[in-house]
Amino acid sequence: ADIISTVEFNHSGELLATGDKGGRVVIFQQEQENKTQSHSRGEYNVYSTFQSHEPEFDYLKSLEIEEKINKIRWLPQKNAAQFLLSTNDKTIKLWKISERDKRPEGYNLKEEDGRYRDPTTVTTLRVPVFRPMDLMVEASPRRIFANAHTYHINSISINSDYETYLSADDLRINLWHLEITDRSFNIVDIKPANMEELTEVITAAEFHPNSCNTFVYSSSKGTIRLCDMRASALCDRHSKLFEEPEDPSNRSFFSEIISSISDVKFSHSGRYMMTRDYLSVKIWDLNMENRPVETYQVHEYLRSKLCSLYENDCIFDKFECCWNGSDRQVYIVMTGSYNNFFRMFDRNTKRDITLEASRENNKPRTVLKPRKVCASGKRKKDEISVDSLDFNKKILHTAWHPKENIIAVATTNNLYIFQDKMN
């Protein structure tokens, strides 16, 4: 139940939310910058914890509904409170997180502990006054968006209009209004009339960061479709189809499985999008559909291990990817791998690095040492051979602070927060 299933910074980066397999959400808050300790901006402390989803059982279909939080998405802050959407396989919830640091004291008819005073002892009128109290952070569910998905929700994405959002399951995508819970519009439906004809499923979906009419969804066959909601109510016909042509002579049993896209993320500008498939990260220019503009190999050495990765189901692991914060000069993409390794690729310098998130190998506040995996042949000192990689230690979820060089990396049970070294 402690397995982290999603990680997400809010729009300012001050808050970091994690969801876990037990349906809980834990929110961390960045420590305010201290004049004397300016290097501690990477410190995050627990701010709020709440149970977002509970396990459910659908008696009619004999289906167990897991409480695992699949995705969390923050709303931009509009007032003192913070709002986030969290979803499990079937239900999306809007949570309000608010602070309470004052409380009324001095009631006319009540004692301080809440007991009512004997009215005959009340001889004067007094008006309650708000006095400071220890900070309390409260989370309350404000909207519950239920019963709209037959299949398992894999993505939620808030539109740039800040009024609507989409939720995607294996075969359908729905559009919701944040204020309305009793109806949603179906905008994509790829369910075939005959389920025997099913060839692909939706794996991820996201709204364009600037165009509120545009969204993309990726498939298990490695394609991405861009849809324009102005074109029709049901966006079954894509406006653009992004697909890299495959060399038919290279095709194997594994080709389709490893081409399945596990995550899709627009760049901050909206000009590019990044996709993650089993072995690589690809950057696509929205203006070019026939191939990605860049491809980065995450762990190519696994290509000669596909048989055993299929047998232990690891080949179906869904890795996410993320862009660095909105620094206009720098373009770095990050994604996870096995053995608690995670990778970063610098699009400008074309350099890449492999780092490890583990307590044994890194003391706090020390600089992370780059790692290297030896694919074959003689293993150099400090290199790790492919066969000694621990495939149970997977980093599926990573997040990058929207403004600073602080990253959050989730191993199975732990959350690591790293910041770039100060000069």
């Binding site: 499923v201 298990s220 290509r303």
Partner: protein
């Protein structure tokens, strides 16, 4: 004499390995088997009649807990949704069944 050098890609070599172990593996590579397994996640079989009877009888008692090996699902033991073994559609079965 000319000898053609055939270099097999690592991926194809892995495929050959897999086919050797599971000769009846589906002809359609990565096709509907996986997708259907994915869509069926969470399927458990459960008798709501048994469950509700047990809930009614056990109103004042504690619900029976499953034995560690979870083999007693029906008969002596009243099932609850939590007790049922995870009926994960086994990929091993589908590999052999083809």
């Amino acid at each position: 004499q000319e000898m053609e050098d055939k270099v097999i890609s690592p991926e194809k070599a892995e495929e050959a390995k897999l086919k050797a172990r599971y000769p009846h593996l589906g002809q359609k590579p990565g096709g509907s088997d996986f997708l259907r397994k994915r869509l069926q996640k969470g399927q458990k079989y459960f008798d709501s009649g048994d469950y509700n009877m047990a809930k009614a009888k056990m109103k004042n008692k504690q619900l029976p807990t499953a034995t560690p090996d979870k083999t007693e699902v029906t008969g002596d033991h009243i099932p609850t949704p939590q007790d049922l073994p995870q009926r994960k559609p086994s990929l091993v079965a589908s590999k052999l069944a083809g």
